[in-house]
Point group: C2
């Protein structure tokens, strides 16, 4: 766990990692980013640490899929559509109506939505 109260330093590694995620297209995992930055000599632990820190700082987003965390350059709320064959993930719009569908009977407060569509993409057929 990273303590947000302490100043975050701007390191070469952090800059490279944000950049890699910001320019990514298909929701890379930590090891994808590690592979992308292989030349940089950044250690795997730093990749994981900084990706968590960046999510915590609200600079990038994340989605869990198939037991691993995938990162997302977009932080605005949105839904996902995943291909069950190739495991690629795309961003899709989160319908405005969705918040009207939130369950009201229970005693939860401040509900967030996690909406994912699953199917087979055109490339995989």
């Amino acid at each position: 766990m990273i303590d947000k109260s302490k100043a975050r330093r701007s390191t070469r590694q952090r800059r490279l990692i944000v950049d890699a995620v910001k320019h990514s297209l298909n929701h890379p995992s930590a090891s994808d980013i590690y592979a992308t930055l292989a030349d940089s000599g950044i250690g795997i632990a730093t990749i994981y640490r900084q990706l968590s820190a960046l999510v915590e700082d609200g600079e990038i987003g994340s989605v869990k899929y198939q037991g691993e965390v995938r990162y997302d350059p977009i932080i605005q709320p949105h839904a996902h559509i995943v291909c069950s064959k190739c495991d690629k993930i795309w961003d899709v719009e989160l319908p405005k109506e969705i918040k009207n569908l939130a369950p009201t009977n229970g005693s939860f407060e401040k509900l967030d939505v996690d909406l994912t569509w699953k199917g087979v993409c055109s490339d995989c057929r």
Copy 2:
């Protein structure tokens, strides 16, 4: 991977595991089931194997949450609501309107929905 074309045998282990899931309340994980059936002497590998087989056979459902698979006695399509404090998971109704909100622009077919609400339950406040 388990081949469904071959006959599935009714073993003591399988019967105990289905039973444990069917009578469960809060979406147990594999190790929860293992703990529940500790007296039975069933090995952890068998727990995992049978839980996967049961999901594959459509006898029970499953949800991924917090990096682990949780099992569900209910197989009908439904949504979930999870508490981000205690990690308990409840079943909630899947709104009928949801299928009208599926993205149509892409070239996916046969879309499944995965809808989860996240918040803090009353017990945790």
